[in-house]
Amino acid sequence: MSNELNILPELIFEISKEGKVGYSFRDIDISDDLIAIDKSKLREDIKDFPELSEVDVVRHYTNVSKLNHSVDSGFYPLGSCTMKYNPKINEKIASLKGLNTHPYSPTDCVQGNLEIIKELEKWLVNITGMHGFTLVPAAGAHGEFAGMMVIRKYLESKGDARKIVLIPDSAHGTNPASAHFAGYDIKEIPSNEDGVLDAKTVKEYLNEDVAALMMTNPNTLGIFEKNIMEIADLLHENGSLLYMDGANMNAFMGIVKPGDIGADVIHLNLHKTFSTPHGGGGPGSGPIGVTKELVQFLPVPLIIEGKDGYSVNYFNDAGIGRIKNFYGNFLVIVKALAYLMALGKENVSKVAEDAVLNANYIREKLKDVLDLPFKSKTLHEVIFSDKDLPVTTLDIAKRLLDYGIHPFTIYFPLIVHGAMMIEPTETESKETIDAFIDVMKKILDEAKKDPEYLKGAPYNTPVRRLDEVLAARKPVLKWINEENEG
């Protein structure tokens, strides 16, 4: 609810009041005399910590939440992020009491949970054509790291760790960062004028130091790396491996299996392709799948399906070891499995078909009014640029906010100047997409008529353009009680 003064909610610390209590819990019935810790180690008071009643907390977070745009309130075509609708039944399922067990419960008491993990592994194996999966990684980047570690372990096992990983210039930043933490040097490899990797170019970059190529497919331009099989062959001949960043699997799941076209390792983002909500930045889940040769190097724990049920292998000397506590982000796994079971095998490819259809529809409808830097076929997203426009990509993005639409991804990938990366996903209706197209055209009209006005956008958001330079130059990363300071 907007109000006359358009005042933003205060910070929780600013509404705190000494002596307020927001929880209820039974009184302590054990004497303080039993305290077995040196007084010197005990804390006095948590200075400035919030004191609120339950109603204060509820109102605060309710009103704070209202400042957010979300998938449930409108279109969110954030490229590379696959912001699809998150089914509500999955939240209900993830909250079932029966699934809420301690991770160190005896194995025979958590057979249901282990079955969930194993079931999802099976789905992913079947969808990707990889031989085995681990669901431990906490997010895509974590999966990449695990995947590159597996590759290195495998190469080491053959006595040849190698030094270099090739990564296309259009790759997501996590790729080089993850490869780096797996101990590799990165060599950037250019894509061609069609926006994809040439087999010829790859060949030029290959030598005995190359451990792997990390390829995002479809790549961050939304274009399918059509030379993938040829490239995979070249890599394999060279003793190198093909790592596929599968964060964009929404583009072709159910249509082709990465394992069938040369991928040795792949990670998936459950919080993208498999519809688990992103929660304002996480938690995610980034399972990795590998070929038969690599399975033995997967991180622990490994879930084993046996005759008498499921068991867990906590130690595996051959593997890369442990990369995260317990079994991964279990509830995210639960939601992804629920999503797939609701979808059913018959609908997996329909996801990709509709996602690609929607993206190509937007491409078709906007290609005459916006610059299309690459003319190649695109799959689940389309990238335009701000070339020849009187305003920038940023201005258009900010203006979209005024129309209640979340902007596309902007200025990524870096190889496109002023990129607008639009990914509608299959869970958007034609009505929503048509409305978006209309708004885009309207904004482009506005830009022609009054570019200055757009540079001032947004006008109707809880706050307007924020000073990011100030934030970085004088970092204020926590609330300071000025009463104490003064």
Binding site: R43, P50, T101, V334, K430, W479
Partner: protein, 450 residues
């Protein structure tokens, strides 16, 4: 199927618009000889009510619901006020992406800024980031942060660090040319051997990673440890906390001179959930700012001068710095941090103090009660927080726990899993969710085992 809003008619309209006859045309770049496979091994679509039933049945296969549990070891069963569920499940919080467009993401951003502030207050540090994956990955991020800052590549780690965290550290460093050396703990006190720490410390060492309360539940001498570490130039003390509920009860790390504190904050509003999603945290002294991994939310102003929040200092991060980033983390555990913020606000200053104290007192009560048996022995009787190691005179830990399991009690974790010399030791955790009767029952059942 309810997740596809396009109708067949609309599909045809779109195809016509974009000038194709068959949807396959859009996928013609894909190697056709490999494409259009079928998923024969998988089941068909389940309608919503059957889906729910299926997962309820899976829950029933987890046969434990009426067991009394004293399992801890890095995952704790704490009270979660219902408002935490209610508020965090608002779709405004649950369904947005990372707040890349701050003008329509002030909700997430403000909540994260508040979380950062609360974590800084609880740890006594200068600042906190907006989350890491979990306690184990936070431990290695803390170690790497110390090393980046020190520009060295050798680090000391306490032997009594959570065994899983230890494994994670070893996994992560294997290809980074980083050397890890362990500092033993004293078998009498359960604490780090300070003499050994002194011995092993030298100018090549970039820091010391220790846990407090440590894996055995014992509170370390953080201040002394930090002093020792600081005797070496550019060496940093990194405290790991697997039980965040100890923070409100114990002297803050900042006051003890700790440089970096990392850990697991599952205890702040996250259910056990078979181990995840949980919440990694990291907080540090000011000077680590530019080397911090992960996201930071900062305060700023909008063009009208209004206060607002943005993701900031992102030049540390992978999407800008790529292979030179301080970490590869991108998606983090934002929603878990939101829950922690709501949880901490609801418990508030007094609630946190009360509940953390009750954790300790319940544990102390057990220590007192179990004294009457001479065939078991609490190994470290001083300075524990909410976990203790029980030593068994005539039993091996795994068998002991199996016997109690037959009496519908999960009595703890066998230390044998992780320590070769701990066959007869088990780790037992007490929280505010136990009452006296629960503890009395545990004691009685242990007594009956004699």
């Amino acid at each position: 199927m309810q997740y596809f809003p396009l109708t067949d008619k609309q599909r045809e309209e779109i195809k016509k618009e974009i000038g194709i006859k068959d949807i396959k045309e859009l996928f013609s770049d894909i190697p056709q000889e490999k494409a259009w496979y079928s998923l024969d091994n998988l089941p068909n679509a389940l309608p919503e009510n059957e889906l729910l039933k299926r997962f309820e049945d899976l829950g029933d296969k987890n046969t434990y619901s009426d067991y009394l549990s004293f399992l801890g070891g890095g995952a704790y069963n704490h009270f979660i006020p219902e408002v935490v569920n209610y508020l965090s499940n608002r779709s405004e919080f649950l369904t947005p992406y990372t707040p890349y467009q701050p003008e329509v993401s002030q909700g997430s951003l403000q909540a994260m800024f508040e979380y950062q502030t609360m974590m800084a207050m609880l740890t006594g540090m200068d600042f906190s980031n907006a989350s890491l994956y979990d306690g184990g990955t936070a431990a290695i991020e803390g170690a790497l942060l110390a090393l980046r800052k020190s520009k060295k590549n050798k680090i000391l780690v306490a032997e009594n660090l959570h065994p899983e965290y230890m494994e994670i550290i070893y996994s992560y460093v294997q290809n980074l040319g980083i050397e890890v050396e362990q500092v033993r703990y004293n078998r009498e006190t359960g604490k780090v051997e300070l003499d050994e720490l002194k011995d092993k410390l030298n100018s090549e060492i970039g820091g010391f990673v220790f846990q407090s309360p440590n894996y055995f539940g014992v509170i370390e001498e953080s201040k002394e440890i930090s002093d020792i570490v600081h005797s070496e130039k550019k060496a940093y003390s990194v405290q790991v906390v697997a039980e965040a509920l100890s923070l409100p009860f114990l002297t803050p790390a900042g006051d003890n001179g700790v440089d970096i504190i990392v850990g697991e904050a599952q205890s702040f509003g996250l259910s056990l959930s078979f181990g995840g999603p949980y919440l990694g945290f990291i907080a540090a002294k000011k000077e680590f700012l530019r080397q911090m991994p992960g996201r930071l939310v900062g305060q700023t102003k909008d063009v009208d001068g209004k206060r607002g929040f943005v993701l900031t200092l992102s030049t540390r991060e992978q999407h800008i710095k790529r292979e030179n980033a301080t970490s590869n983390i991108c998606s983090n555990q934002a929603w878990c941090a939101l829950r922690a913020g709501i949880h901490l606000s609801t418990l508030g200053k007094s609630g946190l103090s009360k509940i953390s104290k009750l954790n300790h007192l319940n544990t102390a009560y057990f220590v007192k009660e179990i004294e009457k048996f001479d065939f078991v022995n609490v190994k470290y009787k001083k300075d524990f927080f909410n976990e203790v190691v029980l030593e068994l005179k005539n039993d091996n830990g795994i068998e002991f726990l199996e016997k109690l399991k037959n009496r519908k009690i999960f009595a703890g974790i066998p230390l044998k899993w992780f320590y070769k010399d701990a066959d007869n030791q088990v780790l037992i955790n007490f929280t505010e969710m136990h009452n006296k009767a629960d503890i009395d029952l545990l004691v009685k059942e242990i007594g009956d085992l004699k």
